[in-house]
């Protein structure tokens, strides 16, 4: 890739959301903002190889995009109401100070994650408007057809406009509830990258995990005081740190206990641990930790052990107990049972897992966990049946390969 191409790619990653956010604030219309931003990047691809990369690429793009937006508004006579005229008058307004622009991006995130939009739509819209991913990229990530996704995004933008979903950070009283929706979207994006589904898909989609981390980092700089934002960032970093050790050269999932811990990313672990320590200090001062902070703490315990035998399982179990009180979901109970197996043995854990059948019978990890416990209890026939069911339900190619090998090792 040439230097200029590289610069365009980097600027796109760093500046896309800023440009879209600035234009949304100015023109009050996501459609105009997005299309003008896309046109400005297309112009950059055309011009920068000959003219060179401008000294302030973000400013250049915002200015170019604003001109494109005005051209478009002029072309479309139906838009030339007073409001749009007014927007055009301030053609040469000075660039906004950085703080205001960051606030713009935060507004954009909250607009895309508005509770009046369907959950799937929030993910797609955030990736498109804030992440700058293309429709085919998002469609591939979530295994939907381009046209269906395009329709969903178009419909969401139309609803934002028609119902007047505001472009702003929610008021203080709504903020905690709305932040949790944003975090759920980012965690979904991360998990889809970390355990990508689909037969033709890479088992780990680094593009998605990286994007989720980048957006969560952005949220963290915008809301440094929010404990759950810090918790989710720590959770993602500590998970991402194990990414390369998680799939073998043969494309098979390597479970935590068998991973080469020397291959873990020490810098990401150190950063994640720093954030967890910060949250532990806040918890000691009386702040009740939320779900992501507890999950991050569990991952901090795992990543603190140099060898799986050194894992502090009683601390992990204590953290799961804390998590169950906050989030009594069957999936949390299933993960807790894995820690129980290490402390009290597979027999006790299996009893706990079996109680979850009603709720988790359709979830591959339920059967995978049962299969492993039954294997450890030398109940080969039952274990094989559980592996069969898990393989049937698992959507991740690396996981299927791992489960298949485990099953075939049973006598």
């Amino acid at each position: 890739m040439s230097d200029v191409q590289e610069a365009v790619t980097r600027v796109h990653r760093e500046e896309w959301a800023r440009v879209v956010a600035a234009l949304t604030r100015r023109f009050g219309d996501l459609d105009i903002a997005e299309e003008a931003a896309a046109e400005a990047f297309a112009t950059a691809v055309e011009r920068w190889p000959a003219d060179g990369v401008p000294p302030n690429p973000g400013g250049w793009l915002t200015t170019t995009a604003a001109r494109k937006a005005i051209d478009r508004i002029r072309r479309e006579s139906r838009r030339d109401d007073k409001h749009k005229e007014a927007a055009m008058v301030y053609d040469d307004e000075p660039p906004e100070p950085v703080g205001a622009i960051d606030d713009d991006r935060l507004r954009l995130i909250f607009t895309c994650c508005h509770p009046a939009l369907a959950a799937q739509t929030r993910v797609a819209l955030t990736l498109r408007m804030v992440g700058g991913l293309t429709v085919p990229e998002i469609a591939r990530a979530f295994l939907v057809a381009d046209t269906a996704l395009e329709r969903r995004i178009t419909r969401a933008k139309a609803k934002i406009k028609a119902a007047r979903i505001p472009y702003r950070v929610p008021s203080a009283e709504d903020l905690p509830a709305r932040v949790s929706g944003v975090l759920a979207v980012l965690y979904l994006v991360f998990n889809e990258g970390y355990l990508a589904t689909g037969p033709g898909t890479d088992p780990v989609r680094h593009d998605l995990t990286a994007e989720a981390i980048r957006l969560t980092r952005l949220l963290r700089t915008l809301m440094p005081g929010d404990g759950e934002v810090a918790g989710l960032l720590a959770l993602m970093l500590l998970t991402e740190a194990r990414r390369t050790a998680r799939v073998s050269a043969g494309g098979e999932l390597v479970p935590l206990a068998e991973q080469d811990r020397g291959a873990w990313d020490a810098a990401l672990i150190a950063e994640g641990h720093r954030l967890v320590r910060e949250r532990l200090a806040a918890a000691a001062a009386g702040a009740a930790p939320g779900r992501y902070q507890i999950l991050a703490a569990i991952n901090a315990v795992h990543t603190s052990a140099r060898d799986v035998r050194d894992t502090d399982w009683s601390q992990i179990l204590a953290l799961y107990d804390q998590l169950v009180r906050r989030d009594p979901s069957p999936i949390v109970a299933l993960n807790r049972a894995v820690a129980v197996a290490e402390l009290d043995g597979p027999q006790v854990a299996l009893a706990a897992v079996d109680r979850l059948e009603g709720e988790l019978a359709g979830y591959h990890a339920y059967h995978a966990t049962r299969a492993d416990l039954l294997r450890r209890l030398h109940r080969g026939h039952e274990s094989r049946a559980a592996y069969d069911r898990a393989i049937e339900l698992a959507g991740n190619t690396a996981e299927t390969a791992y489960l298949t090998r485990r099953r075939d090792q049973l006598r």
Binding site: H114, A116, A162, A163, R164, I165, P166, P170, S171
Partner: protein, 107 residues
Amino acid sequence: MRYLVSVIDDKDDPGSTDRQPAISRFNEQLIADGYWVFAGGLADTDAATVVDNRGEQAVFSDGPFVESKEYLAGVWVWEAPDLDVALRLAAEASRVCDRKIEVRPFQ
């Protein structure tokens, strides 16, 4: 921005019937805060008549245009600056009426 706020009742699972005093207090607050445009409760769907005069002559049929267990029991029209304000009021309205509420913007 004007929003049509519909009160949805459910024939299988009707809301409580003693809501009128609370609704009146809520309406007074809407008026005081400047959100109120219009409101009205509707008679039962049994009282509805559908008229179709697209053909040669008008056809009148007894009952609502769509038969479903959920039906429109009443409406508000609110003037609100944006959807966040409308949704906050709608959340309150749903509690006050003990029914589901649909919020829909006017064009």
